[in-house]
Amino acid sequence: MPTFYGTEVQNPLLLGTAQYPSPAILADAVHQAEVDVVTVSLRRESGNDRAGQDFWKLIQDLNVKVLPNTAGCHSVKEAVTTAHMAREIFGTPWIKLEVIGEEDTLQPNVFELVEAAHILTEDGFQVFPYTTEDLIVAGKLLDAGCEVIMPWGAPIGSGRGLENITALKTMRAHLPDVPLVVDAGIGLPSHAAQAMELGFDAVLLNTAVAKAGDPAQMAKAFSSAVASGRDAYNAGPMEPRDMASPSTPVMGKAFLS
């Protein structure tokens, strides 16, 4: 089971809470898929006087661990302010740090991300940075005090799956002891299973479940997929090879090359 900052999590499927048809359907998805950790945004909902509290209370009533996020923040300053508010509201040092760099692809601004991660870890936060698959950036985030790295699979909401598998494998190989979470871009349970088969510790997604025809059923499908992927990784998957390797003996048959 993945452990983030000393806290063990039972289900490696982490779920976002935005865009569901209703909070009741969100709750249903979380419960049916036995999700342990949900992430929730605050930037836009808080207004001037934390007017999002009705929804946040519904999230707290789910009785799962809350990973507040800084979605919608475009600068270090915004992200840091939002993180402080999140810590007060949800009483957790956890923060999913997201600093958006580009409006169209929603890709992270990794420079500001590293800067914000420094500030927040020094301030006692336990930062879950949403980043790209870039290994150098991951190193800088670790230097900044992050103990989890969350590379994207593909742009947020795109549902394209793992677009750069080689880079994700490289990251896993270079950082064997760091909890790694694929965050964003997952469209299908097979994408999530694939991330787990590569040895990632968890998968974080939102749109694929929230916008499914039946969000609760899709959440369950993702939950089984990450469990299968993790089992497969732990079981030691075979290495692919170029030639067929029959599982029945071929001794005594003509050998044609």
């Binding site: 048809p21 009741a24 836009r44 909902e45 808080s46 999002g52 009705d54 929804f55 519904l58």
Partner: protein
Amino acid sequence: MTEHVSIVGAGVAGLTTATELVARGVSVTIYEKSEIIGAHACSRYAGGMLAPWCERESAEEEVVTLGKGAADWWSEHTDLVVRNGSLVVAQGRDRNELKRFAGRTSNFKDINSEQIAELEPDLAGRFQLGLHFEEEAHLDPRKAIAELTSSLKEKGVTFELGSSVNPKLLSGDVIDTRGFAAQSDLETLRGVKGEMLLLHCPDVVLHRPIRMLHPRIPLYIVPRGDGLFMVGATMIESAERGRITARSMLELLGSAYALHPAFGEAEIIEMGVDVRPAYPDNLPRVTRNGNIISINGLYRHGFLLSPAMAQQAADMIAKTNTYGEVQHAHHA
């Protein structure tokens, strides 16, 4: 049979309920905290779309079953219903959003760019594919509130304006339609913030509500006639009633401009913000607690679902439960 009922709140829920009660021979007094009817009701900022099939995209089936009679109800009680259907489009790069929308909804026709041009000549050449929901309708919410009010006055309904009464202090049958203001009495009610714009743009003529899909910023534009358009609406999990953000306006105006560049030269007539009262399942409820019947949680479906809720409440009062089927569709 009850002879007199007090209604607290003169928004769309209060006025539709009064209309149903008067039709059943009940005398009605309406208490409204504002001095002017509609001034502080969130229905003031409604889109006025009577679009149950489109709404199904992000709502449960009950919104269709409860809402499909709404256009008839409003036609019966006002002269404002325009039955031109709704048109759903998406820009080329968001074409998959159109597929998703079609997969979640029913009662529409797939149309191509020529058919879009026939329906809305001003959108000719702008979209390759669309969905036409022919049976849907729309109305002007502010005019509808005014028409219901004046016909209720004609029928002898008393309006106590500027009167912030607590429903619990009224005797006899009381219907509480205060919307979000009733939050302290309705534990699970929350507010969902919505911001809208009213634009004047005589360069564009549209005949029906247009929904332009986008993964993050879905937009609707409802023509109000005389070159006026209602552009909406944001959906933010927040109970903040009084702050319109630059980002929201940027998004709405950007989308309107993407629908048709002539909106770039539109005059901004009004910006509005309020919160929609919603229960956790985003479906409305009629509930009874002693002598008080509460209608609330109309969410983004005030004009669409208030007729069905009004009928349920009026039946509850009249104790002739002829809409039992509808009523049982609700889990309290």
